[in-house]
Amino acid sequence: MAPVIRVWGLLLFSSLLYAQAKDPFIGSQACRACHLTQTQEFFRNAHTKAERGCESCHGPGRAHVTAGGKKDLIIAFSALSPQKSLDNCLQCHSKDWSRNNVRRSSHTQAEVVCSNCHSVHKAATPKHLLANQQKDLCYGCHTDVKAQFSMPFKHRVNEGTVQCADCHNPHGAPSPTWRMGQRPRMQQHAQANEQSCVQCHADKRGPFLFEHAALRVDGCGSCHAPHGSANPRLLNRPVVFTLCLECHNGAPGFGRQGQGIPLQSGSHNMADPRYQNCTTCHVKIHGSNADARFLR
């Protein structure tokens, strides 16, 4: 009996050794020998939960270790093409609702992929592992937006209470539910399908008995410059009346009936400063429940 057991034991042991030799994964312990900086603080990282440790992202490491650290035998993100880098991260991160348009996002088209904004090993923010503070990452490329946020009136992004991602989805978004459904492309949707503005400005959301159609048709951006403006209500123009008159000019072909957006009545005298502040009387300009002309 004993020789039989010994033979079976030998067979089992050799097959285990063979299987281990064939297993391309070697375990995170082996990485520590060379990549001490990356591994010693890794317990803080969200990726520490990944099933195969370092090899979950960097791929099987046995061949890399056996070859004495040969670079092309491991997945090094610095050497990957943007597309492959994206594919690698999406193996795990594709399941989130907010990322299901990442492949058609403007960022992906411009080859701005995960590793351009996120840093797994040198993150500046423990949450979301961003390579820098969120606004500074965005400002890094969107220099025009940076200038707008330096205007006197703006949302408090520089002050730290509003984040770019409150309104924008950097991972790509579905078609906007305003304008023509094409632009803007990277907008967050409030609740399920509303403009991101109404997430905070809930009173402007309505519904109202008398909607100001501009809000629903072309969106809040018809009148407002959300990043910054010289106007205290973040309007696209320094004063309000030109903004209103640019649409309310009765130009044929536009509006609900194709007869133009209604022209102001003859009782208005634009030479009188009293009439140049439209919202003094049309106070409920976002929508009213009592007056079709938004007077109350």
């Binding site: 411009a110 200038a147 006197p152 730290g160 008159l245 640019e246 109350r296």
Partner: protein, 649 residues
Amino acid sequence: MRHLFSLLLLAAAGYAQPIVAPTPERAGDAKGEDLAGYNVVNSIETGYRFRNVDGNLGKYRSDVNFGNGIRVLGSYLTINSKKPGSGKLFDEIVLSTQGLGNDPYQFSSLRVQKDKIYRFDSVWRWMDYFNPALTIADGQHAINTTRQLQDHDLVILPQSRFRLLLGYSRNHQDGPAFSTIQFPDGRGDEFTYLWNVRRTRNEYRLGTEFEVLKTKFHVLHGWEYFKDDTRAPLFSPGAGANPNDTATLSQFRRDEPSHGQAPYWRIGIHNEAFKTFTFDGRFTHTAGQRNFVVDELAIGTGRFSAAQNRQLFVGGNARRPVTTGNVTLSWFPVERLTITNHTALYNTRMEGDGSYGEFANGVAGLSFLNFQYLGIRTFSNLTDANLKLTPWLGVYSGYHFSERRIGSSEFEDIDPPTRLERTEQTNRLHSGLLGLRLQPVKQLRLSVDGELGRADRPFYTTSEKDYHTVAARAQWKTKRWSLLGRYQTNYNLNSNSLFVHSARTRLASIDGTFTPKPFLTLEGGYGHTHIETVTGLAYFSLGELIENDRSLYRSRLRQTRIGAQFNLARRADLYFGYHRIQDAARLGRSLMDQAFPLTYETPLARFSVQLHKKLRWNFGWQYYNYKEQFLALQDYTAQTGYTSLSWSF
């Protein structure tokens, strides 16, 4: 490593219109200390912020609003279990705060999680806004409200194939404001009245994410409740805005509660079972509804000094169900090519009905029913292809089509409404995109993009009709240098009949960072954004209809920034920065020629020194100088600064 550290610090400190505090440098060891199986990193900055304003305090408060007083300028805490998953109740806590106690902008963010069991994220924000509204509504619509925002999300079993999602958000706005009312009628004088703003939005979320046969599902149901209990209590307004109008308003009161709910569904399907193909489906439905009442009382005298009393009562409800469906198909026929197709359908109908009753002395009571309907249906189909021709050359292109149909029913006449007019109009937009990306050497990335769009019947004179966009970008990045140059132009021409709207935006910028020594980083940037719009106008002036005027708007934004960061003997950090934004457009010569020349500059300096391993002393100063040509009354200069101690326990 040192270069990177300096770069990160500088970037955190010096971008955009910077805020001098909190100090980016933290006290204590960045590696933290081990305690009962956990690693703890913490730093708390407590100090005194001061301000000195010369000029228009209201304008300063609307732009900056930092005041005097002691506060927790910032704090940072992380607790991580040394061995993943070994924590009893939690494995990670991350808490960061800003401005607590006294600042007008307060923020806290918390994450607590236990591996495989739960993850809790919470964000709390508090903002104190003051807005004198000087250049709008004749300065009569000032507001001084605070807004509190909270978002809490809990994920149960965050790493499993079945996840449970729970969430709660709250948004509360509160404070006094001023508004205006016309009396005795819509053509009457404007009177300012006090308004107590009180709005609350509560949102509850419950959902799940699960995976079956390599297909991931997301199902979430949310309930949003909103109530606006803003009211104008009985108030005795002062004189009207128009000195030539003899009407008076001695008492005014208005209650206009509006309460409603918007339950919504989000359903998502993501499938990547096939190597060359992925599918994303998304369906949402929101059923918004608001019930409202407007109860208003106004007592005064009319234009001819006769007593005028007016009471008004409106009640009803409004509804807006919104439904969207989106399907995204991604196809990877070869490794270097990705083709995506996105189809979206959006449908909404806004309708409401209300009863209007008005009673005024000497006039027969006015009572009628209002009804209005606005429906929008948009269909979009967007196809994009992304091809990597060689490792250094990539192209992408796209063709986008959308069609929007707007139907409406509205009364042709109001006061009282008579004939209901039904209308419908359709707009189609075709657009094409083309982009080129080059990376000739590792350090240099170049890109050029263009988009061309054509719409046949835009809704507004200012909507996009015939537009194009061209953008180019060049980035050079090495360990010491980072340079970014950018140019973009957007042009839109919307012409119909004799009316023309034309808008053009051009922007160009260059930004750079240079780290010549490990202890020194320099940065600078310049950008300009030019905006020009021309729109045909028609309006009444002195009873005459003016039809051939034009509205011109010009903006010449120029932004300059420089900064320098020094690290002295690894113990002290010194930062100097200067930031200036200027709108250099010439002030308009006529009423309809609009520009807003202004200069806004903020030099700042900050010093932080390590007194002890766990203690730093910080000092900072920032100067604001605001000047405008439009209304010089708004100019101000302000000095803000702070001194603080950052400590770690």
